[in-house]
Amino acid sequence: MSGVSLPIFAAMLAVFAAVTILLGYYGYRNTKDNSEFLLGRNKTNPLIIGLSYGATFLSASAVIGFGGQAATHGLTLMWLCFLNLFVGLFVAFLVFGPRTRRVGKRLGASTFADLLGKIYSSRGIRTFTAVLIIVMMPIYCAAVLKGGVNSVAVITGLTEYYDIILVVMAAIVGIYVVYGGIIAVMYNDALQAGIMFAGMVVILLVTFISLGGVTDAFEALSALEPSRAEGVLDGFTGWTSVAEFGSEEWMLVVTTFLMGVGLGVLTQPQLIVRFMSAKDDRMLDRSLIVGSIFMFVIVGTAYTIGPLSNVFFDQRVGQLSFEYVSGLGLGTDFIIPQYILEVFDGVLGGDFFVCLFLLSLVCASVSTISALMHTIGAAGGYDLYTIYKNRREKRSSADSTNVRINRICTAVMMVLVVVYCYVMPKDIIAKATSLFMGITAAALLPAFVHGLYAKGVPDKTAAVLSIAAGTVSYLFWALFVNSSSSVFLPVCRMLTGRAVLFDGPVQSCDALIVSLPLSAAVFLAVLAVNMYRRRPASPETSGGR
């Protein structure tokens, strides 16, 4: 894979890096205390919040990871675009956002772990949430970093410089997050979102033009014979129709890709902080305009051009995307990059647009990595350090105001993420995203919802038991039942000699489908029992004898 004009891309990258560092410096100059490092409430506006939320939400994972999966599994993934918009944006901003902002401000919370801990007056819940972030988020972060670097290295043909690209990208992100805090992160997100938007609009237009228009393109996609599909499971019926209900293919697409990511977004710590950064509810409402248009264009384009790449490769080389890219020795994560390289071949200004797409990928990766690094650093340098300090000094509550600890922790975790990149299996961008979003939703969503909306004192016992049930059931299902997620840590193979415990469609069912209802059921059951026990005694039972 080659065909990128290195001088053009180098020039674009140099300008991008310079502006990124400048915005990092702007963040540094405006970060005077820990509150500004963590939330930066006085430096935000609807445009910045909307774009930052969108750019953080959508990483290279959405564009190349899920775009590649859409090329393989078809337009059903447009339902993920709908869930991203409806659940991840509309519901999140209207139902969760304002309440999160108000409760967070009232309690003086600066992070998601801090917020949950203060809602339930529980050091344990705060510690658990921070540890969950520190343990699980680096996997997601490493998947995003690795995806971005892989794409850049392979598309530019600079695979022998993979290590250098990885370290340079990590270093640039590390510098501006460590010094600039959330202000640098959000302003850079907005810049990166603008570049992503421009890149994806051009790609969508060129795709439809090259395939003879919207209707012709979709008709040609419908005409492709499903039996030619590779990389799909039993039940696949074509790229323009939904798989057979309950089949292995349906289980994989609907439970892992749609539900896992679609619902998991509600408890993403790096996104919840965006709500807490807003000055008022009106700012959140206004953010919806730019946020929704941005997300629809980016995700809708990726999930539309992915399947359509099959038509393009079929017309050009007589092979479908998965087969063609596999023949080049590449995985599904490279379907979109390979398609971009070839669709712009011979197009006027094609070199520039390929470089713009490549820069968009860098932006998509960097925007998400920076937000994740900021969240991981805050979980260690703010939440865990606060708990450690309070325990050592025998105080009940006094949040850390030490920016330096946050910065050190962020830098250390950045190094850890780079190490993760070398030990993770390939082609796992989309699955690692589902894994992180799934476990946070299963463990924390019921407790988070109750914490925000409970009348009176929230039920701590219900929260603790729900978190435990969600976490344990998710880990069990992910490691012993689901064949996609068990590759991350092959405990089942080590203990039983089998990759997973059961055969059949159940091994394609995502852990979230089981663990989130279980976590919610445990929460409701404990809540009901506690309400029953606390009910006022009736005259007959209150001592009439």
Binding site: L89, F90, D216, L221, S222, T240, L288
Partner: protein, 41 residues
């Protein structure tokens, strides 16, 4: 019935759902709430 060459109602529904959600978001964003509830809630 065909929607730009797409005939599966589930796939057409996904596109229509996306467009309607964007329109809803824009309406909410333009008609921003007049009163901001107190931060002390």
């Amino acid at each position: 019935m065909s929607f730009f060459g797409l005939t599966d109602p589930w796939i057409v529904g996904s596109y229509v759902g996306c467009i309607l959600t964007v329109v809803l978001c824009c309406i909410v964003g333009i008609k921003v709430r007049k009163s901001d509830k107190g931060d002390g809630e």
